[in-house]
Symmetry: C2
Subunit: 211 residues, 2 copies
DNA sequence: ATAATAAGTTAGACATATCTAAAAATACAA
DNA sequence: TTGTATTTTTAGATATGTCTAACTTATTAT
């Protein structure tokens, strides 16, 4: 249920109402599984369900989702900061630890980390009341030629994207100058440092959030 | 399955063969639940099962149990040492985290803690191959009048026992002198420090392992 | 040795979470 | 508007882990 709710929340951020089919795709289950789970979530008051209508997350659902996302992101931060994992190694562990029911545990982790505001991928960590501070970042792919920006967060942090970025020496906080934008496919040539130039595809740049 | 196996291991330490009924009691489930679970554990080669015979844990079962116990005890140690939880607060959290499937996670915790040999209750932490170093401690209740001993471990670490000890200022490593043994009920008067004398019941002393 | 008690097993139920196949409702498009 | 495609739902199966009630086997005591 927690994984469903988290997924619903993520889809909701992109689009107010959610198609059962999309949820099934993201969860890697079939439509009937989602259909029956949604009814349970609705019973808990976390989503609004009416037959044949798209799914809507409720206020209490958002709060509940934020709790789980908070645990996930605090865990990822803990793994990177305290246990020195790389940013591409933490997600699958956090995916498990986020379900641990022990508020004091996450409170202590939070304290130990000095109350971080974002996770190792730049995503905001909800506070313990479920409030998430919106980030005013823009896509690197929306930047103009000549702009100098700082990498602040990733949109989706698939392991393969993280590895690609690591290989190219790109990390949160690094500064990028847009040198060239290819009209044909939207790929961007960036200046990373003094003599280091790299080319990133549009697909990659869509997922890099900068300021 | 992991909780069953851990429980089987704990019972095995006390008694080579295990009664299904005892396991049911410890697991807080009914006999038919144990009966069906035992068959699954047997399929995995972790226990030997023959109808109407007592349960025997196999070598591979012991190794598997030790893995889980290792995760449990490392977690408890981490909670006390790094997150500053008290020894009576850690068990229920460890009971959950022991099921996390992420060997690298526990390796890092182990490293961060400096490869501890025992948990906050003095129980030995199995190494990553499942080997447990036996402890040569004796019960405080088996000590003679006049003996001076050090508290090394607890036999069973129920939250209520831990709280009782904390209230009386007794912790691992503290030295105790046996001053008086009451013939009637086996209760013991101990000298804790210069002018601090306390009385502990036989039941408590049975669970205090000393050297 | 027999009866009583304890321990273990089976059958059948329920809850959870998943699936496939088929049916129903809705949306879209010619 | 009418047919096609998409989305959602239902029915029925499978798997896991639990339960109660009833039955069987083993142990213990007289
Ligand atoms: Mn993640
Ligand atoms: Mn998860
Ligand atoms: Mn414990
Ligand atoms: Mn457990």
């Amino acid at each position: 249920m927690e994984n469903y709710l988290k997924c619903i929340y993520n889809l909701y951020v992109q689009n107010d109402t959610i198609l059962l089919t999309d949820l099934a795709d993201y969860m890697n289950v079939k439509a009937p599984s989602v259909n029956s789970m949604i009814k349970k979530l609705a019973k808990n008051g976390w989503v609004k369900y009416e037959p044949y209508k798209p799914i809507k997350i409720t206020v209490s659902g958002k709060r509940r989702a934020a709790e789980i996302i908070r645990k996930h992101r605090l865990t990822e931060m803990f793994l990177c900061e305290m246990l020195e994992f790389r940013w591409d190694e933490v997600h699958h562990i956090a995916e498990q630890i986020e379900h641990i029911n022990a508020p004091e545990f996450f409170e202590r982790i939070d304290m130990l980390l000095g109350y971080p505001k974002s996770d190792p991928h730049g995503s905001p960590i909800p506070d313990k009341y479920g409030a998430i501070t919106a980030q005013a970042y823009k896509r690197l792919s929306d930047c103009a030629k000549g702009e100098l920006v700082t990498l602040k967060a990733l949109n989706r942090s698939d392991e393969s994207l993280l590895k690609l970025l690591t290989n190219k020496n790109i990390h949160l906080g690094c500064t990028l100058t847009v040198k060239e934008i290819e009209q044909y496919d939207g790929s961007i040539t960036l200046k990373l440092s003094d003599k280091v130039y790299i080319v990133l595809s549009k697909t990659v740049c869509d997922n890099l959030m900068v300021l």
